[in-house]
């Protein structure tokens, strides 16, 4: 595991479960993983909300000063889902190692200009979608699934890029009955599982020789 290799280099992984049902749903996965790094449980999808994330897994690199140096991107740290996504984790892990070694000098650290471009969210619909999703999750948790569904649908409509809003809502329902679709149907509609995850946009490695696979 990448954490074992890098943890002595002033590096931490903060892994956050986006699960409306909290420990009930995320707990078994955490127990099975025997984590040595920090895993947190986020019933309200707070991290996705404040970082504008639309899917899992999404990774963000944060430097020693608490500054974002690479924003939201698909972040596979192992090949558990490679058959589904078609994405090999190696290029991402390679980039991560480069940053841990070189810090600001790493080619994978983004310029402030590009960061600002990527981080800007000007769409009021995206911000409102998060509120509709939050309301839906609250209603679901207080035993009102049928009242929650219109709010989940509204969140999905306002922010169609968010897979989180679709997948979490489907998981709390009979998706076919309540949404007339399933996750796999939606993946097929988007062009299939191999385009469902957009690979991280990594520049070529400037120092390929000094890395062990």
């Amino acid at each position: 595991m990448i954490y074992q290799q890098l943890k002595d280099k002033n590096f931490e992984i903060v892994s956050v479960a986006q699960d409306t049902n909290g420990v009930k749903d995320a707990g078994p996965w955490i127990t099975a993983a025997h984590p040595t790094y920090t895993i947190l449980i986020d019933e309200q999808h707070l991290v996705s909300k404040i970082y504008n994330m639309v899917n899992v897994p999404t990774g963000v690199w944060i430097d020693e000063q608490g500054k974002i140096v690479r924003p939201n991107e698909v972040a596979f740290v192992n090949n558990q889902f490679k058959d589904f996504s078609g994405l090999d984790s190696a290029p991402y892990l390679n980039a991560l190692r480069d940053w841990i070694e070189r810090g600001d000098k790493s080619t994978y650290v983004m310029s402030e200009e590009r960061l600002r471009e990527k981080l800007a969210v000007n769409d009021p619909n995206v911000i409102l979608a998060a509120a509709e999703f939050g309301l839906g999750a609250h209603l679901y948790k207080s035993g009102h699934l049928s009242e929650a569904i219109p709010h989940f649908k509204e969140a999905q409509r306002l922010n169609p890029k968010s897979w989180n809003y679709k997948r979490q809502a489907y998981a709390l329902s009979d998706a076919k009955r309540d949404y007339g679709t399933t996750f796999m149907d939606e993946v097929q509609k988007s062009g299939g599982s191999k385009v469902y995850y957009q690979p991280p946009d990594l520049p070529p490695d400037a120092h390929p020789k000094d890395k062990k696979p």
Binding site: K9, N10, F11, E12, I13, V14, S15, V16, A17, Q18, V23, D25, A26, G27, W29, I39, L40, I41, D42, Q44, L46, V47, K49, I50, Y51, N52, V56, P57, T58, G59, V60, W61, I62, E64, Q65, G66, K67, I68, A75, I100, G103, E112, L115, R116, P124, I127, L128, A130, A131, G134, L135, H138, L139, H144, E147, H151, E154, N164, Y170, A171
Partner: protein, 167 residues
């Protein structure tokens, strides 16, 4: 020309509505604010506005009405002087505050479920990513043992923040 007339008319109507502290419907309300749920026994719903007492405001949001504005700890939002009546009114010996007008002032989205009389207040502008500093927004969440951790606890280290889910 038509557009100008229409918008002027709408604006005048808006001013008129805002200036008359009409009593709306007395309701019970559930408020979700900054992750906290609060039951309000008496709220006043009036033409899409939601008035609660300043005591309930403090209980539900921890914001308080102060001479300098609507404040919580170091955070203060001044209320526009000419529009005070849109935000604050006195009635039945109590001071009432319009949470919907405040949400608009601080660019906060609101989702509402009418049947269950529930309002969800989303992220204010001060809670969203700060583009000028590129600072990673902080958060505090518990691990499986219930122990809280904040992102800021790891300041001084490089961090890979990564989300996942069981679904």
């Amino acid at each position: 020309m038509m557009t100008w007339r229409f918008s002027t008319g709408a604006f005048l109507l808006f001013l008129l509505m805002a200036r008359v502290p009409a009593q709306g419907k007395q309701i019970r309300a559930t408020l979700l604010y900054d992750g906290q749920t609060t039951e309000i026994s008496t709220a006043d719903e009036d033409a899409g506005q939601l008035w609660i007492t300043t005591a309930d405001l403090k209980r539900a949001t921890r914001f308080e009405l102060k001479p300098q504005g609507v404040c919580r700890d170091e955070l203060c939002f001044p209320l526009p002087k000419s529009r005070q009546s849109e935000f604050v009114r006195k009635s039945a010996g109590k001071s009432w505050f319009n949470l919907m007008a405040f949400a608009q002032l601080v660019h906060q989205p609101v989702a509402h479920d009418e049947a269950l009389s529930t309002w969800y207040f989303g992220l204010r502008s001060d809670q969203r990513q700060n583009l000028s500093s590129l600072e990673a927004p902080n958060f505090t969440l518990a691990d499986i043992e219930g122990t809280p951790h904040s992102l800021s606890d790891f300041r001084g280290k490089k961090i890979l923040l990564i989300t996942w889910a069981s679904w």
